[in-house]
Assembly symmetry: C2
Homo-oligomer: 492 residues x 2
Amino acid sequence: MAQGITKREEDYSKWYNDIVVQADLADHSSVRGCMVIKPHGYAIWENMQHVLDKMFKDTGHVNAYFPLFIPKSLFEAEEKNAEGFAKECAVVTHYRLKTDPKNAGKLIVDPEAKLEEELIVRPTSEAIIWNTYKGWIESYRDLPILVNQWANVVRWEMRTRLFLRTSEFLWQEGHTAHATKEEAIEETEKMLEVYADFVENWMAVPVVKGKKTANERFAGADETYCIEALMQDGKALQAGTSHFLGQNFAKAFDVKYVTKENKQEYVWATSWGVSTRLMGALIMSHSDDNGLIIPPKLAPTHVVIVPIHKTEEGLAKITDLANTIKNNLKQKNISVKYDNRDSYRPGFKFAEHELKGVPVRVAIGERDLANGTVEVARRDNLTKEVISISEIETYIEKLLVDIQSNLFERAKARQANLTTHVNTFEEFKKTLDEKTGFVYAHWDGTPETEEKIKEETKATIRCIPLNNLQEAGVCIYSGKPSTQKVLFARAY
Amino acid sequence: MAQGITKREEDYSKWYNDIVVQADLADHSSVRGCMVIKPHGYAIWENMQHVLDKMFKDTGHVNAYFPLFIPKSLFEAEEKNAEGFAKECAVVTHYRLKTDPKNAGKLIVDPEAKLEEELIVRPTSEAIIWNTYKGWIESYRDLPILVNQWANVVRWEMRTRLFLRTSEFLWQEGHTAHATKEEAIEETEKMLEVYADFVENWMAVPVVKGKKTANERFAGADETYCIEALMQDGKALQAGTSHFLGQNFAKAFDVKYVTKENKQEYVWATSWGVSTRLMGALIMSHSDDNGLIIPPKLAPTHVVIVPIHKTEEGLAKITDLANTIKNNLKQKNISVKYDNRDSYRPGFKFAEHELKGVPVRVAIGERDLANGTVEVARRDNLTKEVISISEIETYIEKLLVDIQSNLFERAKARQANLTTHVNTFEEFKKTLDEKTGFVYAHWDGTPETEEKIKEETKATIRCIPLNNLQEAGVCIYSGKPSTQKVLFARAY
């Protein structure tokens, strides 16, 4: 199994791709830039969806669904947004195929079925949604609107990587409408907290919360909040964004409401999203050279039980015990798979479940039965222990909590080790090249300096952390005065 | 509220549209043929999804996700399937927009970003999935593959109706691969049973299970099974289909497996789907001139409590009681909304919740409190009863079961009343015109006769019911011998 996985040290990028493909998470498709999400990968994504969906509903949001297509005239209405996405838009121009008159078995696009107006496959849905909200909002009584959509979106990519950057991806996009600026900003910040909570406490990935610089803002936003995570190779990954859109879309689509005082005001907006990109963050944060590691809280299967038997009689006894354990754990909402396939040997099964990231493996041999014990192996640190059958369920219940917290602590320690404060541009470049990771440095606050640092080092400002320490200093690049260090990194 | 709803007798089709729009289920969008599914409608669809998803998983299926786009060369590989869908395909031809050189604020399709090969927006996913399965299947050990996908699909429509016929719709499509013909047919039939179970026991809509004639089969299938429901206006609605695809897609995409005996064989396939069209069936089966009626098992909110108070002190007492009832019902998994909005009067709220289809309404007045009673109104038959507060929770729990079963029995009785057996073409036409509904009649089994009957009467053969009575007779149209009556109707 794991023989096929490239070691991280050898080629981190190939290691990542090997895990995605060999752990059956996803694969490239015959459609340029689009992936197939395989059942094992989709099961993890479904778990993420369930948790997030509940979090959204607990914070007052409801789901809805808006069209896949956006007429070009609507798409271009909010100019900055349109400009930001124009270069990566898939465009539908025709609505019919016909038989090729020159080649009976083939189809061609019917030139007579050309659309009067081209349709953009949504790269994000602000335009179509704000055009819809116009019909939903008349007075302050209709606000706030707190809507989320689970959907596929398309942003044409030339260089793609499974989960991290694909032309089509799955995501959720929240789109809310508010009567006041304060309420919209509060919503933007609230959803950032929801994302941080999810990524840290479910995915076990620590994040830095912050605001993007103007350069890195979402096209059409007044402010973009983000959570930034750090991968094992020291590169940053933006894990989620929450945008305060001001009145930009309300103005572009003329969405006003009547206040209690009977005045007409433009509506305030937010949007926020996370995508299947989170799968990439999950994989790259925890996995090792043996394969995938899934945090227990998101694992489709928590425990796999593998029988090791010499006789049919022995197998029957093991099966009885396995079923008892399985049923007892089910009561605790722990999902167990009993892998009694007779076409594979135990060693093969061990490697396979390790590759696929099942948090806990229980092996039951005939001798174990006699001793009243089983062997329990944990995926996160690959250690094994012999546990008495009488206490197996409570042991596993506690073990899953331990693994979840160990993964988070491990990732936190790594992030701390890979976070450096620098004072000069030399130090900055050296840190990026030799140590990698998050680098805090003073910046003069101008887009020009930011751009030049990016050109020279490929590092970008990941964010200006929330509650950032205010301290006088000088910009590492321009030498101009600065009021705070910001967070730089090379990023995915 | 309900003043805006056209009466069924006046204009059934307008009644349907009024309910969809005014009960906040869905609305037309600015994109031709595409709808917006509003939060109330989406909440019902989500409930349907949850139930169906669990049924699929309980029968051994897993979810996955395949690309939205299908390259034209793959799309045309299975010729009958391609031919069947060619006329309704949205086609992506370009992947970039650019600023209009003649008009700075506008965007045009960049002619230099033309795709080498056009991409079809999936109208159904057999082609892309079987092209993928080719890489997943080598030997009998890899079979069966039991995969389902929740997705959006696009079939270009010129005349659209909310939920019933839209260019983009949401659905699930199961795609399974099997070693033998028998196993694939068994799967096809099993999923038809799952659909029938769902539609009858959750949606409370009775169905007839059967097979389609060759004319009405899914393009690319060897056999199409279906469930047919009857709407209040006597028109049939196909509620779900399950296809035995034979080896057609395996041959088109060259998907073979090595048998236990080390032979190469083509793989056998099925596909099956239900869509947001079910929302149309739900709405049209149960609703009345006051608005939507939702079967309790799929209702997002089961009970609404409306306070009727004269004093603030009275309201406080009512609120206490409402919260107690709400909490007690929550323990029984009954979802309750306490509608204490102060901006609307009770009568307005009654009408609104009636329009939106909440199964049970509880009104609590100050006098009720004194009497230890509340007023309970059921949405299905609009009757009211005064119930002692001490037994309200058990009463409501039972009432929801009663409403669910009453809706089903009512629909069953209607279907029975609207089912007619005829022996002559005169009777057939008269029944269709004057009585409408399901009509059983002898048919000679030829596509030509089927086609002529359709031309002359607009009635189609909905299905050849499973376990149909075999009886000698003569075709109502051609007078030729027939072995069984088949089910005709005018249909959505």
